[in-house]
């Protein structure tokens, strides 16, 4: 993907209110040319509102949006959507039912009135890109879900938009097709080399497709960065729990030795590599897959905490087993653990929590 590093879209302290409800607050974001940015968050976090502001469909209350340095939106001013040269792909495809595939894809080109031959070539190229040549005379109703979404993407790509906006484009497809379309979509976007902003509530989509992930919660940016970084180093309890299962243990820092802090939680003293000060009330986060079961060699090789627990519940998940275990057989102190081995309910396990995988964040829990 052509990512020359220059900033193409810039959001400066964007805010939006609907009546007495704050939907977006202090959103600042820089999107580089050719980048694929995912806006991820739960329902009602403001991601679709942000996308609509970028499309020019609604105005903003505070801040500004700039494209290549030119003003797009500011308080009291919104450049009309038809003057922005953006493309948008919708959750419900939004294909016009009374138009054929050709007419749907040609619409954006016809509006700009290019020479006849040129626009036919452009329609053909867009359909080629989504591998839908030969469907020109079909109506949307005659297509399957995946085909409809491909046509919707072709319609968006045909006029060569400067920015492509996608509003949960895969959420109306079944899980199998969604997985296939994820790969296809990524291919198409990379081939088209268009800056893309992709809204989703599905962390798998966001983590697997984006170059840059923006996690939204209650109208604010909770965390942003490369997907792997946000996943591995969640800055908040919300970021940790929204991006996949995580054990969140609340406790107080009672001591430290060099880089290692000791936290009182689960009735244990758990070690974590963190600059936290003694006395701080924090949340300790560790993902189930990062807790090791029965591997005593690690206890010698790395810093960490050893725990004893009993299997309370279990669930087979294909490649792994998911366990809920009670620390010291106390049902009030429960952890989630993942392991490829099968253990029966009631089995005693020896667990190892590596200090490097235990992250300490502020205890505030959002969302």
């Amino acid at each position: 993907m052509n990512d020359d590093g220059s900033v193409q879209v810039e959001l400066k302290n964007v805010g939006k209110r609907f009546a007495d409800r704050t939907v977006l607050e202090d959103i600042s974001l820089r999107v580089r040319r050719g980048q694929f940015v995912a806006l991820l968050g739960p329902s009602g976090c403001g991601k679709t509102t942000l996308l609509n502001i970028l499309a020019g469909l609604i105005g903003l209350g505070e801040g500004a949006v700039e494209f290549d340095g030119a003003p797009w939106s500011s308080r009291g001013y919104t450049l009309a959507p038809e003057r922005r040269n953006v493309g948008m792909v919708f959750q419900d495809f939004a294909l016009w039912p009374h138009m054929t595939v050709f007419e749907n894809v040609a619409f954006g080109l016809k509006v700009k009135k290019p020479p006849d031959k040129q626009f036919r070539t452009a329609v053909s190229a867009a359909l080629e890109m989504v591998r839908m040549n030969g469907y020109e005379n079909h109506y949307p109703h005659q297509l399957s879900g995946g085909q409809k979404q491909r046509i919707a993407i072709a319609r968006t790509l045909a006029p060569r938009p400067s920015l492509m906006l996608m509003d949960e484009p895969l959420s109306n497809l079944d899980s199998k097709l969604r997985e296939q379309m994820r790969w296809d979509l990524l291919n198409i976007v990379q081939e088209a080399n268009i800056t893309t902003i992709y809204v989703t509530h599905d962390q798998t989509e966001a983590l697997s497709m984006a170059d840059h992930l923006v996690l939204l919660n209650e109208g604010r940016i909770e965390q942003q960065g490369a997907p792997s970084q946000v996943y591995r180093e969640p800055a908040t309890v919300f970021a940790a729990s929204f991006l996949g299962a995580a054990n969140v243990l609340h406790g107080r820092v009672t001591g430290r030795s060099g880089k290692v802090a000791t936290v009182d939680c689960l009735g244990k003293k758990i070690q974590a590599i963190s600059p936290a000060s003694v006395g701080e009330q924090l949340a300790l986060i560790i993902r189930p897959a990062e807790i090791h079961v029965g591997d005593s060699r690690r206890e010698v090789e790395e810093l960490g905490t050893r725990l004893h627990a009993t299997v309370e519940q279990r669930a087979f998940q294909g490649t792994n087993w998911q366990y809920r275990v009670a620390v010291d057989a106390d049902p009030e102190r429960v952890l989630e653990v993942q392991d490829s081995s099968e253990y029966p309910i009631g089995e005693s396990l020896r667990l190892w929590m590596p200090a490097g995988q235990c992250r300490l964040v502020t205890a505030r829990l959002k969302g």
Partner: protein, 611 residues
Amino acid sequence: MRTRSSNGSMPTSPSKERLYERARDWVSPAAIFVVLVVLTIYPLGSLLLQTIFPHLFDPLPSLGLSAGPLVQTFIDSSNLVAVLNSASVGLSASVLAVILGTLTAYGVRRAHGRWLRVVLSTSVWLIFFSPSYVLAEGWILLMQDNGILAQLFHLPNGWSGWFFTRPGLVLVMGLRYFPFVHLAMVPAIGNVGEDLFDAGRLLGASRGRIFQKIALPLLAPAWLAGASIAFAEGFGDFGFAAAITPQTHIPLLSYQIYAALSQAPVNYSAAAGLSLLVVLVTAGALWLQLWWLRRRGAYETLSGRSRIGGYATSRGRPSPATLASLVLAAIALLLPLGATLWVSLFKSLSGGLGLSNLTLANYGEALVAGGGVQPLFRSLEYALVAAVLTALLAVLVGYQLVFRGSAVNRVLNLIVISTIAIPGVVMAAGFVFAWNAVWLIPLHLVLYGTPICLAMAYISGALPYAVRLQMGAMSQISPNLPIAARVLGAGQRTVLSKIILPLVSATAVSIFFLSFTNVVFELPASSLLYPAGSPPLPVAIQAKFNAFEWTQGAALTVMGMLVILGVYGAGSYLAYWIEKRRHAALMPLPAGGSSEPEAVVEDRKPSVARL
């Protein structure tokens, strides 16, 4: 600082661009607002102002405040009697309409077989659409001395004296207005599932208790809605008043308004005061219904259960409710319309029912010698113009209200909703004030007495319903369809013409034909606003009946209805053809059309954005 606009076109300064964007956003709602002001706000406002400033419309207007003429209007015993008559007759008729409408709604639900349901439903819809004065004249032809029934059963003069009294008026009005209750009750009965009654039975409740505690509270909103509309319609109805008042000598409020504006000198104060009362009572009835619903708290009776109160499906003998409904529909529809058709073929009204008294000459006489041909064609012209403009305006207003966000949308919506409840005679009276005002003389805008004024009144009457219908159709369209076009660079005009209009064309065609048929038989505006010497069809029909030319009046009515049926049939076929063409295009291909399994979950996400 000067910047290049993002589409790469000519450079403009940001402030100019902002001004342009803002101005463009206001053009459409402002234009619609002006149209609604001209068609509804100004006439109604004039009416209201007249009640407060009684000399506003004098040759020398003055802004002197006075309640005197208004008080005088309601001290006048004939006005007071008319108000009480309208209230008591309207209330009684709405009670009767509730009983009859509930019966026919159950009749339709209990009807075995599709055809029985179609016959019953079509009959109710025909009554719903039939103009009041056409039904009223039919009842008169049937019931009067020497009328159809008198000749059929050799009844003496005076046999139907009871009919031309208050109970008779309540009866025919109840038979006219029960479709309002029926149309509210049919879905309500459908939504109250059998499971709800079964749950009560299983818990040991008696039938009476189930009716009192389950059926009554769940069906009450529909009853109340139907009853309040029936009352509002009855209270302000001009058709019955115009047709039956001269026969029954029961003055009704709407006829008093007409009389106040038709007498010489014109009594503007009385017309305005009485019109205001009609508006207040009508709005009050509808508000009372809403207030009751709010007080009780809204709840849904719909659920995802398998056994909703659906239509009866098994074959067998029709249920008593269905049979009674069929008889009722026949009485309400076939008796008055049949009487009109029969009388239109009589050589003379008192000439007996034999074949020797039948002729088609009335049609020729009514059209040629009786001068009916010009009113007929005049009404068709009015209907054509008004229906085209109404259908067009409905698309524009509907698009503005459904798809475009604007600060004035709430105001526009309020105007459209509130004017639905304004009776035709009141709106027509408003037009008399508004477009005959002295301040319009220097502007050369005195439209009263011109075809333009009458056409505007027709549009004003049809527009609120048309807009609601079009809004219903547009709200079925995914909001993302126009948004997709906008982000691809289409302006509002392109979105409307290329995306929205093709999708609501069938509704636009239906609105055209509904408005067309409505205008051909529209009486109140026609009576009060027709240009001197150029009466439209409803005025010509009324004139025939008022002159006791029963056969010619009936012939003109039948001809008007035949034209309407012809036009409506053509319109229905056109709408069907458009839909069929669209469906044919949307049908799945027989083979090779789709290489993947259908995997769409129909879950349209409404966008918060508006255009």
